[in-house]
Amino acid sequence: MKEATSLTQAVAFARRWHSTSIRLLLIHAAVFSLSVMVLLGVIGWAVTGNMERETDAIMNWQLVYFDSVADSDLSAVIRRRLEREPMHTNYYGLFTSDQHYLAGDVMALPPHLPSDGSPTIIRRALMIAGAQHPGVVLAKEERRADGSILLVARDVSQELQIRSTILNALIAGGLLCLGAGLAGALGLSMRQMRRVAQIRRVTQRISQGYLAERLPVGGRDELDMLAHLVNRMLEEVERLMNEVKGACDGIAHDLRTPLTHVCALLERIEEHAGRSDDERLATLVMQARAETDALHERFRAMLRISEIGSMNRQGGFGEVGLEGLVREVGALYEPLADDGSTTLSVEVTPVEPIRGDRALLFEMLTNIVNNAIKFTPSGGAIRILLMSTPGGARIEVVDDGPGIPEDERHAVLQPFYRAKNASRFVGSGLGLSIVSAVLRVHDFSMRITDAEPGTRVTIDCWPKTLA
């Protein structure tokens, strides 16, 4: 359970990452915090560099000054300088060539100092009079003409402190900027994602045929501009659809009436022919009636397709138990299969109820099963299978008939298409189009594959466009 939750969170995060806005915002946050760090760094290095140069200059000047003093006076000069060092930032030490203390407040010569006079950092190791340890010092030593060694040191702990303060500020500030950017990106993108999700929901409903739906608009950003455009387009599409539907309904009504008339007239002619014992006439009328019946059937199927297609039928939607439905279709068609010397069997595994229009799903399945029976030669077997898959319930109708060639599998779903080997069978050629129309209403998908031998029709009973 917990794993599932964390998985969903991970998926949600991955999905968020794929959103353009969050990616842009995160990149922006990273660049911004990096620039802040660089800026702080530049200021820091400029300030401490300047202080370092100043320290260096002061020490050099002191050495130059001590150079100008005679060796014999040096001890006294050093003492005088120390007296004028109330802040105690400079330290001096004079030693004999064998490193014995002569003068100054540095009591011992630190080991390993380069003798060429280059400055060296000494941390809390310089021994000074008064037992007090200075912090970090920069020290230089110089060998004088009489062989004595002069050590000049200056406290640089303040500079180092400033540098570390700047470094801390740099890291903390950078992290703060990054965090704020991240939080902002998440917040903003969540709002954007919510709007996109809302738009997606509405678009799905529109694609299901609810043309009166409109995308939500609430502000004036790019998304709203797009939503406005799409809404304007939808208005136009809806207007056109209504016009076309109106025209179609008109034509349908206009065609139905004369067709009804012809049927009625033929029926009456047939009766008269029956009475007058004119066999030739009776045969002709019968042929004419067969033709009008075929026309009738085709016409009804056509209207049925447009009816299902334009149906605003979520009203007919409810929970559908597929097990009962599949069994019912099996029971309805078993005698027909038996009549054609084929066998029809139903194999059902329990599945969760789905959302759909039961009557339409029933009509769809009867068309598929009817087709399978029609095209399976005697001795063949037709199986209706209901199974549970990770995606949801799946219905398969499998026969061992001649099968549908691969290049015709898509075409058979088009209205009026008849497979090349189907010409000897009666039918409107619209059965599978009714199936397609029902699938569209439900947003289910169907595949026709080779059952080796025969045809396998697979219907996945879950929406193609996952919410």
């Binding site: 349908a252 139905r256 009436t257 049927c263 009625a264 009804r300 009203g315 309805l332 005698p335 009557a359």
Partner: protein, 234 residues
């Protein structure tokens, strides 16, 4: 108003299309009905309210007052003459709307005239013999169907039927002697409103026939060519 000819069945046809109306009228007159035709909803409603008809065929789309208004007005003032609605609108929602407004049956145009008269006969029968609805045993010739025990006998021999076959036979026995069309059977027994093809119903009837004729060779279910079946009453 009193019925003029009590032994003749009087039909009121409310239909704005003349040729369709003539077809209906001719078909029904041949079956011995008296047919009055009205071509608009207003006059149709007035005639229907007079309560002098046994049954009404009503077009769904009429000029002026439309079919739905006619039937719902009739029902609201207590006129319960059976109404067969005829409509070019075949949508299931339309059908439900028509039946909800008070129609007793609904037939989509273009329709077969024989289909229409078969439905009218069934409606009339239901109206005239409500006792059949309450009976616990149905009888038709040598057939006896026990609605409580759900058993069927021909003479003294019991016939074992599958549930669907039982429902088909029950429907046919309720309307014994009347022509039952394939669509009527499919609607009544299976409860769906689309055309499953005539052959499908034929094979179901074939099976039922084989079972009920197994004890006696006399065929009880006759085929009415091009229309449907009839179960003999005697």
């Amino acid at each position: 108003m009193e019925k003029v000819e009590s032994d003749m069945t009087r039909v009121l046809t409310i239909e704005d299309d003349e040729i369709t109306a003539n077809g209906i009228a001719e078909e029904l007159r041949e079956r011995g009905f008296v047919v009055d035709w009205v071509d608009n909803g207003r006059d149709g409603l007035a005639r229907a309210m007079s309560d002098e008809y046994d049954i009404i065929t009503l077009d769904r789309m009429l000029p002026g007052v439309d079919g739905l208004t006619v039937v719902s007005t009739m029902r609201s003032v207590g006129v319960y003459t059976p109404v067969l609605m005829l409509s070019a609108l075949s949508d299931v929602d339309e059908r439900i709307r028509g039946l909800r407004a008070g129609g007793d049956d609904y037939l989509t145009k273009p329709f077969n005239l024989a289909e229409m008269s078969a439905r009218l006969e069934v409606l009339l029968r239901r109206q005239q013999a409500p006792a059949v609805q309450k009976a616990t045993t149905l009888r038709a010739g040598p057939l006896e169907l026990d609605l409580i025990a759900r058993t069927v006998k021909r003479g003294n021999e019991e016939i074992v039927l599958l549930p669907t076959e039982y429902r088909v036979l029950e429907f046919m026995m309720r309307h014994a002697g009347r022509t039952i069309t394939r669509t009527m059977l499919f609607e009544e027994v299976w409860g769906y409103h689309f055309d499953p093809g005539s052959k499908l119903i034929d094979v179901h009837i074939g099976r039922l026939r084989k079972k009920i004729d197994s004890v006696d060779a006399t065929t009880l279910i006759q085929t009415v060519r091009g229309i449907g079946y009839v179960l003999s009453e005697n």
